[in-house]
Amino acid sequence: MRRLLVLFLFLFIAQLGYSQCAQILRQGRTVYDEGRIHELPSLLASCIKSGFSDEERTEAYRLLILSYIYLDEPEKADETMLALLRDNPEFQINQESDPAELINLYGTFRTKPILKVGVKMGTNLTTTNLIQNGSVNNLNGEIDQDFSAGIGLIGGLVVELPFKNNKLSLALELSFNRYSFKSESNLYSNADGSIVTNTLFVENQNIAELSPSIQFAPFKMNISPFFGLGGSLNYLLNTTTTSSREVLGFQEIRENDIDLTDARQKLTYSIILSAGIKPKLNRGNVLITLRYKYGLVNVVNSDKTLDVAPEFIFDYYGYYSDFKTSHLELAIGYIFNIYNPKKISQ
């Protein structure tokens, strides 16, 4: 019971301290409005140390800075501005309504983030661009093999280094991608055109990707749209093909997972076009991005296919066609801004 009382007392006192500071801020506004700014530093000092909420402290700092400006004490104004930016690096001035003196002072500080770090995850769609057909069943020259797109996953880390003017930035992403695509063929038609066998391959690739790009954000809008151009280096971790074959009327469906990792190129390259938006949220930005990743090189090591997986070729009538892959990605993420405010000019 007594402990409970003490707890209540504590909460009450904490609340009291808080509301006292809120009151002091109100008083501070009035004092500033009335121009008695030489009284402000001592009025706000203790609550700035502790007692203000974040918003209140920012406002208190702003009042202090303005006071020092109009008291012609530039060193103290600088100090306070730095304290404000360290406390709340997201602090923005209002170009329209803030006094020019404050805007000028703000302009002498580095207020932009020096680095942005974030995570993203999303989904992708993989398509294949056939270069050359290759299959043991390719005897009559007309094979009926259809590649179709599959849906995969993406997750990764994003680091952005903004350039000075803040329109351009260098982005580096390290991501894990799971790509998936299908290939289907109906082989050995009868003379009447009816199908004898059905084969279906679903290939799942796990790929680590490192992609640097330049991002360009030409418009000053709240949602911060941007465009990007870059490249990527893809490293194949492994790939598995879920193969199934059916001879109609004669045989049940046979199905097996075959490891084709060694039948694929380990390293491939792509170019990347991207676009997206980065609306502000708390102390960072939400990232919504759409990327198109165009594969530049053949992903298949066709010579090795037979050695690696004869089962794939002979049992499932698999293919060793050469092809490239392209991907469309949609990802969502969040980017934290890292600031290091300092005075940059006198």
Partner: protein, 1046 residues
């Protein structure tokens, strides 16, 4: 451990230098230095005699009297020389010092003479040492047996010389029973050896005389000492002289007579000083041999003084050693010296020999680290600490100060000793308190004791070993302290909480009471006011009533008198008529009787004359009544005039009140508002009110503002705050500049204000804080917070016709706060460098003409251009006399920080301060100042109107006040309609308008003449007040009149 034989010397340069030095310093003379030992010639014989007779001698003397040196250099050489006649001339002298382990040391000394022992390796040495030690410990004749064992030749005599015998008592830990036994065993060994007649073993001891009492506990020893001791005599002055001159001569140098004399004088009679003398001489010699001017220069006082004389040589020497230490070592050094000293009494430190191991534990460092420090203090030529430098230290070694006087002379050590004493005192107090607390006889400590104890703990960082030296319960004490601290902190926290709560309650109560009080006082004042007004009205009414009644009564009285007189006159007339009738009757009667008739007739005629007289009298009375009536009318007229004056004041009051009332109307009622304001103006004008009445002004201003008159429209064109406005005294131009660098030129023509842009807003930061225009309006200067070029700021010079690129006048430091153009237009003054520099420029070059240690916030230039007036941040007003090369004088002290200053053409000065107070005074005047009270916030601008009518003041309280200079104490016109702080003001050249620039984008223009505004209202209204409106807002007892003509 023999100092005689075991004296390995390192070959350091220091040692080499020392080897040539004939003075040993603090250590005793060694046996090989007997050629340097002077002053005790002839005293050895007696000692030898006693030794030979009793096979024992005790050389006893006070500390520092040279006992050891005497034995080494006075006695032993003779002994070796075989001068002891009744025994073999073959002598082996075994020198030992008891130290902390007398028997171990004795064993070591015995062995150190044995060539076999010296030749053997460490393992063997250890075995041999153990054998001898065991032998010595086994029985009291152990020494004899050992010597027998080690004896190499039959006719060898042995002298066991126990140097520093007092160490037996000094180094003994009395609480250790083993040590007590060891002391006893040691003494017994010696006694047995002396008494053992088969082997010629002689024993000599040197001992400080103050320990002689300790010997009494050993009866054999006491007896021996009684039988044979030699009390070493104090050296005479001559002997001392020899001791000085002798070694110098041996060293191949000369010493001047005066130095010898001075040394002897400094030495005094205290035997304790001999080592100090030796030390000083050693240092003097070293210094002399290093720095002597020529080879043959004798040792002189200058060398002696260079090493600090006897008073300071030791201290300097010790500091030298101390300064060689690293910072960490310095700390160890402090702990070391604190451990081996102790303070007894007020100014009396004593030595406290301590084992190396214990010192290391106290300092909380390894023994090697301590040894490193100790070695610095005992290296050859220094010997500030014992054991001597060649003795290897281990954890049992006793570390001691070589001479007690070090504690007296070395200031640093003295401070340490005091410091340590204080620390010990505190620790003991604390321990005692802890003990008392434990048994419940005392409470925990509280400040200031607690604070002192905590300071002590922080400063001394006491270790366990340190604490246990003084009081065993170290842990308990520390826990007690910690507990006290925690307890106190908890208590403080609780107190703080309580206090905060109390404070808050008190605040609430105070607030409630204060509010209640304020309200009560308000009521009280209001009540009083009402009562006074009522009383006054009552008195006046009664007076008026009385006068009127009196007048009426007087009139009535006069009337009554007049009526009475008239009646009287009528009565008389009637009487006369009756008398006439009567007379006629009489005449008729007389006619008949002629004779009597004449007589009768004469009588009748006399009656008629009386009647005529009465009629005249009646007429006079009537005139008198008329005069009275005239007087009554006169009184009435006077009463009417008084009433008219009262009415005038009343109308003025009504005027003010409806003016005030009008400002409170909303926009929807703007017509009525206008009518009321105009009516207020009409009353004020008609009844001759104040020409610059604030309420009338306010009423009209807000009315025409509501009615949309261009006269009061604000001047647009700036996008940011305006901090500078200026105008010259000619033409019709006013210039305004904002904090983005935009400058506008305003042409003023009544309510038409045309703006030309001289320069647009700049891209980079460009806060204009000062503007000034030449008197012909041709050139405009702008200064402020610009981005410096080549490290210096500049002022911009514009021409005033149309947009143009400014010429930059460079050479200013930091921001320019103020610009004033000289009256001759040939140059201008600026205030820059954060208010610490005043510069003058001729529009081309810039020169600093004055500087100020105090930050100046504003400057003003007198109209004749002779004086600069400055408002100091410290509240003082400074005058710079330009003709006297800017000589500075302080002419006033305002107290509060001054922000603004202005001076009029007739040298009236106005200053404005941080509290919003304006003070006006005459420059060089004698009348003191007038305070203009009204502003509630710091002042931002002060201007005198060119026509001399006003002082205008601008403040951060968002108002501009126009003070009527002809009636300075009257209420000023307060121009309130500003959205934010007013930063700058400027009068139009014709003084008819004043412009005010604010922190927001607004520039306001205010007419200074009320009638300008009054003329506008009726044109904008198409009606007059209805009688209802009149009755409601003006008053039902005020006769209706038309406000505007139809």
């Amino acid at each position: 451990m023999s100092e005689v034989t075991a004296a390995p010397q390192s070959a350091s340069p220091q040692a080499t230098a020392d080897r040539n030095n004939p003075f040993p310093g603090l250590r005793p003379f060694k046996i090989e230095e007997s050629h340097l030992f002077f002053g005790r010639e002839g005293q050895s014989d007696e000692v030898l005699l006693k030794l030979s007779k009793n096979r024992f001698v005790g050389v006893i003397g006070p500390s520092g009297s040279g006992k050891s040196s005497f034995i080494y250099c006075g006695v032993l050489p003779i002994l070796y020389g075989g001068f002891l006649t009744d025994t073999s001339p073959n002598w082996e002298v075994i020198v030992t010092r008891p130290g902390a382990g007398p028997i171990d040391n004795l064993a070591e000394s015995l062995l150190s003479k044995d060539p076999k022992y010296i030749a053997s390796d460490a393992e063997e040495k250890k075995i041999k040492r153990t054998i001898i030690t065991t032998l010595l410990r086994s029985s009291s004749i152990g020494l004899v047996e050992s010597i027998l064992q080690l004896r190499r030749s039959e006719d060898k005599n042995y002298l066991i010389l126990v140097d520093q015998f007092e160490e037996l008592f000094r180094f003994k830990d009395s609480s250790d029973a083993g040590a007590v036994n060891e002391t006893l065993a040691f003494v017994n060994l010696l006694m047995e050896a002396v008494d053992y007649l088969d082997v010629p073993i002689y024993v000599g001891i040197t001992m400080r005389s103050d320990f002689i009492g300790d010997c009494a506990q050993f009866p054999d020893l006491t007896k021996k000492i009684n039988d044979s001791h030699y009390l070493i005599p104090q050296m005479t002055r001559d002997q001392k002289r020899k001791a000085i001159i002798g070694p110098v001569a041996v060293g191949g140098a000369e010493i001047t007579q005066r130095l010898t004399q001075q040394l002897l004088n400094d030495l005094g009679d205290n035997p304790d000083q001999l080592p100090i003398l030796q030390h000083s001489l050693m240092r003097t010699w070293s210094y002399w041999s290093k720095y002597r001017d020529h080879k043959d220069e004798p040792v002189d006082t200058k060398h002696y003084e260079a090493i600090g004389t006897m008073k300071e040589a030791l201290s300097l020497h010790a500091n030298e050693a101390y300064d060689e230490l690293t910072d960490d070592q310095k700390e160890i050094c402090e702990s070391l010296f604190k451990a081996i000293t102790e303070k007894r009494g007020e100014n009396f430190g004593i030595r406290r020999p301590t084992r190396l191991g214990e010192i290391a534990a106290i300092a909380d460092v390894s023994e090697e680290e301590v040894i490193e420090v100790i070695d610095k203090f005992r290296q050859p030529g220094r010997s500030l600490l014992t054991p001597a430098s060649h003795i290897k230290l281990d954890s049992k070694s006793m570390i001691d100060i070589s001479h007690e006087s070090l504690m007296r002379i070395w200031i640093r050590l003295k401070n340490w000793v005091d410091d340590e004493a204080e620390a010990v005192q505190m620790y003991l107090r604390l321990s005692e308190a802890a003990a008392m607390y434990q048994v419940g006889k005392a409470g925990l400590w509280r400040p200031p004791d607690l604070q002192l104890a905590l300071n002590w703990q922080a400063k001394h960082k006491p270790t366990l070993v340190w604490g246990q030296r003084y009081h065993p319960a170290f842990e308990r004490t520390m826990i007690f302290l910690e507990y006290s601290k925690k307890e106190f902190e908890t208590e403080q926290r609780i107190k703080e909480l309580q206090q905060k709560r109390r404070l808050r309650n008190a605040r609430i109560v105070a607030l409630v009471l204060a509010t209640a009080t304020v309200i009560s006082i308000g009521f009280l004042i209001y009540a009083f006011y009402q009562k006074t007004k009522a009383d006054e009205a009552l008195v006046e009414v009664q007076e008026q009533k009385q006068i009127a009644e009196e007048n009426a009564e007087l009139a009535k009285k006069n009337e009554a008198e007049a009526i009475k007189n008239e009646q009287l006159a009528k009565d008389n007339e009637q009487q006369a008529v009756a008398a006439k009738q009567d007379a006629e009757e009489q005449r008729d009667i007389a006619t008949s009787a002629l004779a009597t008739a004449r007589e009768q007739r004469i009588r009748a005629e006399a009656g008629e004359e009386a009647a005529r007289q009465n009629a005249n009298l009646a007429q006079q009375r009537q005139k008198q009544a008329e005069a009275s009536e005239e007087l009554a009318k006169q009184r009435q007229r006077e009463a009417e005039i008084a009433k008219a004056e009262a009415d005038r004041l009343r109308y003025l009051a009504i005027g003010k009140s409806i003016g005030l009332k009008s400002t409170q109307f909303r926009a929807e009622q703007k017509e009525l508002k206008g009518l009321l304001a105009q009516q207020a103006y009409v009353f004020n004008t008609k009844y001759e009110g104040d020409k610059y009445d604030n309420d009338i002004y306010d009423g009209l201003y807000y009315a025409i503002k509501e009615l949309g008159d261009p006269l009061v429209e604000s001047l647009g064109g700036h996008e940011k705050g305006i901090r500078a406005l200026t105008s010259s005294s000619t033409g019709n131009l006013v210039f305004s500049a904002d904090t983005q660098g935009k400058i506008l030129k305003w042409s003023l023509q009544g309510e038409s204000r045309m703006a030309d842009t001289l320069v647009s807003a700049r891209n980079q930061s460009h806060v204009i804080r000062a503007l000034a225009v030449t008197s012909d309006n041709s050139r405009l200067l702008a200064g402020g917070e610009f981005i410096a070029e080549n490290g210096s700021n500049y002022v911009e010079l514009f021409t005033t016709n149309g947009k143009n690129t400014p010429k930059k006048i460079s050479g200013f430091e930091s921001n320019v706060w103020n610009i004033i153009i000289a009256p001759d237009d040939k140059g201008f003054y600026t205030l820059d460098k954060n208010g610490r520099s005043i510069k003058y420029s001729n529009f081309n070059t810039v020169n600093e003409v004055a500087t100020s240690g105090v930050r100046l916030n504003d400057i003003a230039l007198s109209a004749d251009g002779k004086y600069l007036l400055c408002a100091g941040n410290n509240g003082k007003v400074y005058l710079y006399d330009i003709n006297r090369s800017y000589a500075q004088t302080e002419i006033m002290d305002n107290g509060a920080t001054l922000l603004n200053i202005a001076i009029s053409k007739d040298n009236q000065v106005a200053i404005g301060d941080e509290n919003g107070l304006i003070k006006v005074f005459k420059l060089f005047g004698t009348q003191g100042f007038t305070r203009l009270i009204g502003h509630t916030s710091p002042i931002e601008g002060i201007e005198f109107s060119p026509d001399g009518r006003f002082i205008a003041t601008a403040s951060r309280d968002k108002t501009v006040r126009l003070w009527n200079r002809n009636d300075i104490n009257a209420q000023p016109i307060t121009l309130k309609d500003h959205p934010d702080w007013v930063f700058a003001i400027a009068f139009s050249p014709n003084s008819e308008q004043i412009l005010a620039g604010t922190k927001e984008t607004v520039v306001r223009a205010w007419p200074t003449n009320i009638e300008v505004m009054a003329d506008k209202i009726c044109n904008k209204l198409n009606r007059n007040m209805t009688s209802d409106e009149w009755e409601t807002f003006v008053g039902d007892d005020v006769p209706y009149e038309k406000t505007c003509k139809d």
